[in-house]
């Protein structure tokens, strides 16, 4: 049975230093309260995989020195500009970057979900994305004739972390139409979820809710954190906090500014 944790930190205990941690894109449900808790704990040497892109979450973790390797297709703050700590870290060479393309990440998670070692994908041949990925292989389509195709090894995260609208006491998670969260959970050894609230009753008993539910079978632990995506949006629940993201973009432009952001919004000390 999944643990309905008493505290956020208890729920996050499955996320260890050095693990392969998978996180979703910002329009899907990013566990930002959980991310701040991991930084407060001082998590280190993460191999972070953002499916398929990231914004504030990757930038914060990188700026706080928690990330050793990042695999994703893009990191930016969208209309608030470039992700400053990501950009600085890549330019300084302080993280190892595995540049990907969105469908390659989706496919590699699907391989893991199916328990097969790799997935083929069109495109990529002739790109420098492929050239910088020694772990990706080009082979001839065995069913074709002189038809090269790229094979991507399965991505098997130790833990997937995301935020969702609700869970029930059996650890079933309602994810609605954010289906890639299901793929991520299937692909990962463990899944840790924060939710807005607990649903009384079993989500799988109602066919309309069941269709959008990740079964607790795949879930390691759950914690209730209201507005757990803030300042990012929870789709169909609350939007971006644009003012906050503007403030972040401004502060994170320098290391000193970023440090004051951490003090104020992550460590929640009275500084800045």
């Amino acid at each position: 049975m999944p643990m309905i944790a008493r505290t956020l930190d208890d729920a996050l205990s499955a996320i260890a230093d050095g693990c392969l941690l998978a996180v979703p894109r910002e329009s899907t449900g990013v566990g930002m309260a959980a991310t701040r808790a991991l930084i407060r704990r001082g998590i280190k040497r993460l191999s972070l995989v953002a499916l398929p892109t990231s914004s504030l979450q990757a930038d914060l973790l990188i700026g706080a020195g928690c990330v050793e390797t990042l695999e994703t297709s893009a990191v930016s703050l969208g209309e608030f500009g470039l992700a400053p700590r990501f950009t600085a870290a890549v330019m300084a060479g302080t993280i190892r970057m595995k540049d990907a393309t969105c469908p390659a990440l989706h496919a590699a998670f699907q391989a893991s979900e199916k328990g097969v070692p790799f997935m083929p994908l069109r495109g990529l041949i002739g790109s420098d994305v492929l050239d910088h990925r020694p772990d990706w292989v080009v082979m001839n389509n065995p069913f074709g004739n002189n038809d090269p195709i790229v094979l991507l090894p399965a991505i098997k995260p130790d833990v997937t972390l995301f935020h969702a609208p609700m869970a029930d006491r059996a650890g079933n998670i309602w994810i609605g139409r954010q289906r890639e969260l299901v793929t991520m959970a299937h692909a990962s050894a463990k899944t840790v979820v924060t939710v807005e609230k607990i649903h009384e009753g079993n989500l799988l008993d109602d066919p309309q809710l069941a269709a959008g539910t990740l079964p607790g079978f795949y879930v390691e632990s759950v914690a209730v954190v209201e507005r757990g995506c803030w300042p990012l949006p929870l789709p169909e629940h609350y939007p971006w906090d644009g003012e906050h993201l503007k403030e972040y973009a401004k502060l994170a432009a320098t290391e000193e500014g970023f440090a004051s952001y951490l003090e104020r919004y992550v460590y929640e000390r009275a500084a800045a």
Binding site: S76, C102, L124, P148
Partner: protein, 254 residues
């Protein structure tokens, strides 16, 4: 040579001209997809849908209201792989004369002098979407270069590489280039009102073909402008509130 006559006063905005050109390029499509941070292509796609009375389907990524996808982020790419997306849009930190697009970095990959967000879906969609329209509103030698530093997605591929898609043209704030896939080269197709050939040549870092007389880009018709301003802009405001406020003065805060 032919500088615009001083009395030629435009009654449309630059964004409206670009969207009108893109909407014409979309042509007879069933499904147009628009990536993140692409307000002008989104405007053009919604305009095409409005003109077509509901056709094509338009998927604006990142907008639950303007996508029909129910199978997660992969559905777009699975759709594209099957040929179910006819038109897509790509921009780039750099674009070169062979249609190669760079969304990653400038300089050596391990020690870049500038870093962009990343390739997003370009390294795949450029190959499998029949009509990819390149757009880059900053037309300069910094963005339109002889050779990109990093190929996120190549403009063309060898014959034995599966490729059902690729670039059809490049639209900038100054002109429209069509792309010849056989010759892997751009051709100057039209120059926007108020801009000149000399200006295009000076600001383009790659070589391109051009006919002896380059036509002026066709201005949007009054009907197109009316549709954009009255019908499409309010829809766009739900996805791109800041753009809609700036260009169309639609007073809706984010």
């Amino acid at each position: 040579m032919n500088a615009p006559p001083p009395e030629a006063k435009k009654d449309f905005r630059d964004e409206e001209l670009l969207a009108s050109v893109i909407a014409d390029l979309i042509g007879d499509a069933r499904h147009v997809a628009v990536g993140n941070a692409s307000p002008i292509p989104a405007l053009a796609s919604l305009l095409a849908r409005e003109r077509g009375k509901g056709t094509p389907y338009v998927s604006l990524l990142g907008s639950p209201k303007h996508t029909f996808f129910t199978d997660g982020g992969r559905e777009l790419f699975d759709c594209a792989g099957q040929g179910r997306i006819d038109v897509f849009f790509l921009s780039g930190g750099e674009i070169d004369g062979e249609g190669n697009v760079n969304l990653v970095s400038i300089g050596e990959y391990e020690h870049p002098t500038a870093r962009f967000p990343g390739s997003f879906g370009s390294s795949y969609l450029y190959y499998v979407v029949p009509k990819v329209i390149l757009f880059r509103t900053e037309h300069s030698k910094r963005t339109l270069v002889p050779r990109v530093s990093f190929i996120s997605a190549p403009g063309g591929s060898p014959d034995n590489v599966h490729r059902t898609g690729g670039p059809v043209g490049l639209i900038t704030n100054r002109c429209f280039f069509s792309f010849d896939r056989q010759r892997k080269r751009f051709k100057l197709a039209s120059i926007h009102p108020g801009h000149t050939l000399a200006e295009v040549i000076v600001n383009t870092g790659f070589e391109f073909d051009r006919p002896p007389d380059v036509p002026e880009t066709r201005a949007p018709s009054p009907e197109t402008l009316r549709l954009m301003r009255e019908t499409v802009a309010p829809e766009l405001a739900e996805v791109y509130p800041q753009f809609a406020a700036r260009v169309f003065g639609i007073g809706k805060s984010a």
